[in-house]
Each structure stands twice: as C-alpha cells, then as structure tokens.
C-alpha cells in the first residue's frame, strides 16, 4: 500500500513520497482503457459460459449412469494440473504451423486456412477465454453438483406428482433451489478468473504492448517486465486490483449471508 504513494528507482530504492502521482500516471497511461475493457470481457465471458456449461454438466453427472466415475475423474485433471503447464499445452495446440488444432480444423474443412490464434488481434482473446473456461469448469461443476446433492428428492417427487414436465420442474424447482450454490460459484469464479495470471501471461506473451492484457498481467508487466519498470504505478494498480477483489468478497459474504451461527 505504501509503495503506491512512493517512487522507486529502477533498482528498487525508495525515493520518497510522491502523493498521488502514481495514481495520476496510472489513470493517464494510454493502455489503461484497453486493459480495463479486456479485463471485463475476460471475467464476464469466462464466468458466464463456465456457469452455464457447468449447469448442464452437473445435471449430467448427477444421473446414475454407467461411466460417471470416469467423467468425474477426467474433470479433475484440468483442475489439479498446474495452470502454467495447461497454458503452455494450449500454446502448443494453438500453434500456427505445428499445432494440432489448425490441422484438425482444416482437415474437417471447418476452416479454409490455418489461423494464427495467438498472433492475431481478433482471435487471441477468444483463444485465452476458451482456456479460461476449460480450467474453470471443473470447480464450478463440482460446486453445482454439491448444490444438486443438497436438494431433497421429495421435492422432485412432489413436482412429478403435480404433473410438471422435466424442463418445467428444472426451471421452477431445481434452479431456484440451486440459487445459493450458483451465487457462490459465480462470485468465487469472478475472484479466481480476475486473479488468473498464467493463462493470459503465457498465451499472450508473443504480443508486444498491453493490447490483450488484463489488469493482473498489466500490473505485473508494469512492475517487472516492461521498459517502464514502474513499481510505484504497479503498486497503485495493485491497490485498485485489491479493491476490486474486496468488492467481490463483500458481495460474496452478502450472498452467503455470513453469520457467526454458520461459522
């Protein structure tokens, strides 16, 4: 916190307080608007698609069907694997010349020519979002599954007796009862995805500048990697990031109505 009001030389020596000038520099930095927009796109898309997809997936895994254990085990892999390794893996799959994705798409005639997924301004964000969803899906699905397990079977039977169709029962019975689990999933995912570093860091590393950075990777580049090496400004951004998370955390606590009785 203190760092955000100070000035540091490149070697990291404290050079005295500078008031709010770090914040002024941050607000005036030309990359900031794009970075904020990227962050919003990144968080909203990843969380929205993840939650919707995990609703379907959890419903599927909630059924007693052969092979369910296998699917649950498979889902654990992207969750347990180190994010940086998964991100590197996708960098390789997306590779323009040697990546398997372009080969598959072209052979299936889904694409006319190979796409430079990570080098093209139009596709790099989408490519990162896909990976973001891929790694967020397991946790979310498991949270929804826990929510489904908490719904007593009698409720379904009552809906059944009342002659509700499967879809209607889902909409009017399951979804409202899933609300608490869904809210938890959404808020925690917002926090995780906002904080996510390795995916954007790895898949975007070929592109110069800050055009596809989120606030987290932007902060990191400003502090440690770019020609700016501006610890003060990065710290100012860090304070902003922490405030964003704090907001999400407060929202979370409100949602789950945290009380001592629960603790």
């Amino acid at each position: 916190m203190r760092a955000s009001f100070g000035r540091y030389s490149v070697t990291g020596l404290y050079q005295g307080a500078v008031g709010t000038s770090n914040y002024v520099r941050l607000v005036q930095h030309e990359a900031l608007p794009a970075v904020v927009v990227n962050t919003v796109i990144w968080v909203v898309t990843v969380v929205a698609v993840t939650v919707v997809a995990s609703l379907g997936l959890a419903q599927l895994l909630n059924e007693e069907l052969p092979g369910r254990r296998l699917v649950r085990w498979a889902l654990i892999v992207p969750w347990a694997a180190s994010l940086i390794m998964t991100a590197k893996l996708f960098a390789w799959i997306y590779d323009y010349y040697f990546g398997i994705l372009n080969h598959v798409l072209v052979s299936l005639r889904l694409a006319a020519a190979p796409v430079d997924w990570l080098g093209n301004d139009a596709t790099v964000m989408a490519a990162m979002i896909v990976v973001g969803i891929f790694v967020s899906l397991p946790f979310t699905t498991y949270v929804v599954l826990a929510g489904l397990a908490a719904i007593p079977p009698e409720v379904y039977e009552a809906a059944w007796v009342d002659g509700a169709s499967a879809w209607r029962a889902y909409r009017t019975v399951t979804l409202p009862l899933l609300r608490p689990a869904l809210l938890v999933a959404v808020v925690l995912n917002v926090i995780y995805v906002f904080n996510s570093f390795p995916i954007v860091w790895t898949l975007n590393d070929r592109n110069p500048g800050f055009a596809h950075d989120t606030m987290i990777t932007y902060m990191y580049k400003v502090a440690f990697r770019s020609s700016l090496r501006d610890v003060g400004m990065a710290a100012a951004l860090g304070v902003v990031n922490v405030l964003v998370i704090l907001l999400a955390v407060l929202l979370y606590l409100r949602t789950v109505s945290w009380r001592e009785a629960d603790a």
């Binding site: 916190m1 760092a3 990291g12 997936l57 599927l60 895994l61 059924e63 052969p66 092979g67 369910r68 296998l70 699917v71 649950r72 498979a74 889902l75 654990i76 892999v77 992207p78 347990a80 694997a81 180190s82 994010l83 390794m85 998964t86 590197k88 893996l89 390789w92 010349y97 040697f98 990546g99 398997i100 891929f134 899906l137 498991y142 949270v143 599954l145 826990a146 608490p180 938890v184 925690l188 904080n195 570093f197 987290i216 990191y220 440690f224 610890v231 990065a234 710290a235 860090g238 990031n241 922490v242 998370i245 955390v249 979370y252 606590l253 789950v256 945290w258 001592e260 629960d262 603790a263």
Partner: protein, 280 residues
C-alpha cells in the same frame, strides 16, 4: 427418477452415457496431446501436417528429463517448498481450527471471516507488494520467502475444513475420555486427532498441491534459475532460443500425474472447503 418404460429408459441412459463420454474425451484431449508430444523425438515436433501420435515412440525423452540436473534442481525446489509450507499449514491450522471449533471467544467471528478473506486474495493481486516486502527483508531468492507465502495463502482452506470436522466430533467423546482419566491434551492427541484424520489428510493434500502448482510468486521472487520450482523451471525448455516442447511436456506430465491422483483422493472434501462459510 421414475422409469419411463424399459426401452426408452435404456435409450436415454445410453445417450447420457455417450454425452458423458464425450465430455470426458474433450476434457482429456489436450492432455492426450501433451502425452503424445512428450514422447515424440525432436525431429517430429516440426512436421507438416502435424500428427497427434508420434511415429517413433521415444520414451527416452522422459528418462532424459529425469536425468537432467536442472530438472532435478526444480523438482527438489518444488518438493522443499511444497513439503515445508504444507508442514507449516498443518501445524498452524490444526490448533487454530480446534480452538475455534470448541470455544466461543470475543473476535472469533472476525477471526474466521479474516481467514476466509485471505483465501480469496490470491498472491497474484498482491505480488508487487509481496516482492517489496521480501526485498526489504532480504529474502528475495530464498526458499523461505516461497514457503511463507504458500503457507500463508493455503492456511485458510485448511482451517475451514478442519474446523468443520472438529465441530462435527461430539464433545461427549472428549468428556468420556476425561472421565476415563485422560488429560485434555492426551484426549486431543489420542481421541480427537485420529477421528479428524480424513480432514487432516485433505488439508495436507490440498496445501501440497496448491504450493506445488504455484507459479507467479515463484516467477517473481526466485531470480536464480537454480532455485526455481518446477512450474517456473520447465518453461525454460521452450524459450525464444530453444524449443524442446517434448521435454517441456515430459516434465509437465511428470509433475501432473501424481498431483491428479492425490487430488482425486480428496475430491469429496474439496468443495466443502473451497466454498467454506456458504454451505451448511
């Protein structure tokens, strides 16, 4: 679910199974690419059109990685950091969780809330501040810095999962032990801790995996390549100058497989710990 006629039920189950299998395939496909690439010889990495499976299955890649002194250094760094921080987490979380589960004291609520909040502030958002702090303490590029950071951020999960477990152990068991002439501490060690073992195992595995997979703090604090853990170290297999994707993925697979197995073993307790304070 009530059955809707034999034939339709069977068709439905079959369709659902296929859908499940499809999901499993999609989820695992990237890791299949990882395994296959890990077993390709260097010359097969850059062929067009690219192939999924190697023409020559080269298991020697894995042996080369294991024999690589850099890999051994990263591996030992990862083990040192993950094991030490896990030890700290369990040593600190067990008494904290036990005490908050058994006693009401002023500030207990605030304490638990604070613990919950630390779980959400990942080190990522705080990394610039962390770097400054360790710089001033002279701890940049030491294992101590990584161990402390990992321990601090994984403590929350451990406290929450252990607390819920301790709270579920009936007080009467301890009282019975006291009647039998068992001291408070002995009751704790001989009666309560064995009962809480599943939760302790969960906390241990979770803390270990989280530290094992940690990337950004290690990337920032460990400036000496020799001290880097696996997550940071392996990225040096593919840089602007060298591109040993096969070795990168062989090393990744070695790092991922044990972790997935450990993770699967605690799957049942994970969600409860990660959504702490919200369910029940």
């Amino acid at each position: 679910m009530r059955t809707t006629g034999g034939a339709r039920g069977v068709v439905r189950a079959a369709l659902m199974s296929c859908a499940g299998l499809g999901v499993a395939l999609i989820v695992l496909a990237p890791y299949v690419v990882m395994m296959c690439t890990a077993l390709k010889p260097e010359r097969e990495l850059r062929i067009t059109p690219p192939r999924l499976t190697p023409i020559e299955w080269r298991v020697a890649n894995v042996l080369e990685v294991v024999a690589d002194p850099s890999f051994q250094g990263w591996l030992s760094a990862s083990l040192i950091v993950a094991l030490s921080s896990t030890a700290i987490v369990v040593a600190a979380a067990t008494p904290a969780a036990y005490y908050t589960a058994r006693h009401r004291f002023p500030g207990r609520s605030a304490f638990l809330l604070l613990v919950l909040v630390t779980q959400m502030f990942s080190p990522t958002a705080l990394v610039v501040g962390l770097y400054r702090e360790f710089f001033e303490l002279g701890l940049v590029d030491t294992y101590a810095a990584l161990i402390l950071t990992n321990a601090a951020f994984n403590l929350a999960f451990a406290i929450w999962i252990l607390r819920a477990f301790f709270a579920a152990i009936p007080r009467e068991i301890e009282e019975a032990a006291a009647v039998d002439g068992c001291g408070r501490l002995r009751a704790l060690v001989q009666v309560v801790l064995p009962l809480a073992l599943p939760a302790i195992v969960t906390a241990v595995i979770f803390a270990f995996i989280a530290a094992w997979n940690e990337y950004i703090v290690a990337l920032t604090l460990m400036t000496d390549p020799a001290h880097r853990p696996l997550t940071v170290g392996i990225t040096s297999y593919v840089t602007a100058y060298v591109q040993h994707w096969n070795h990168l993925f062989a090393a990744s697979a070695l790092a991922i497989v044990p972790v997935v197995i450990l993770f699967a073993s605690i799957e049942r307790h994970l969600v409860a710990g990660l959504t702490a304070g919200s369910v029940k």
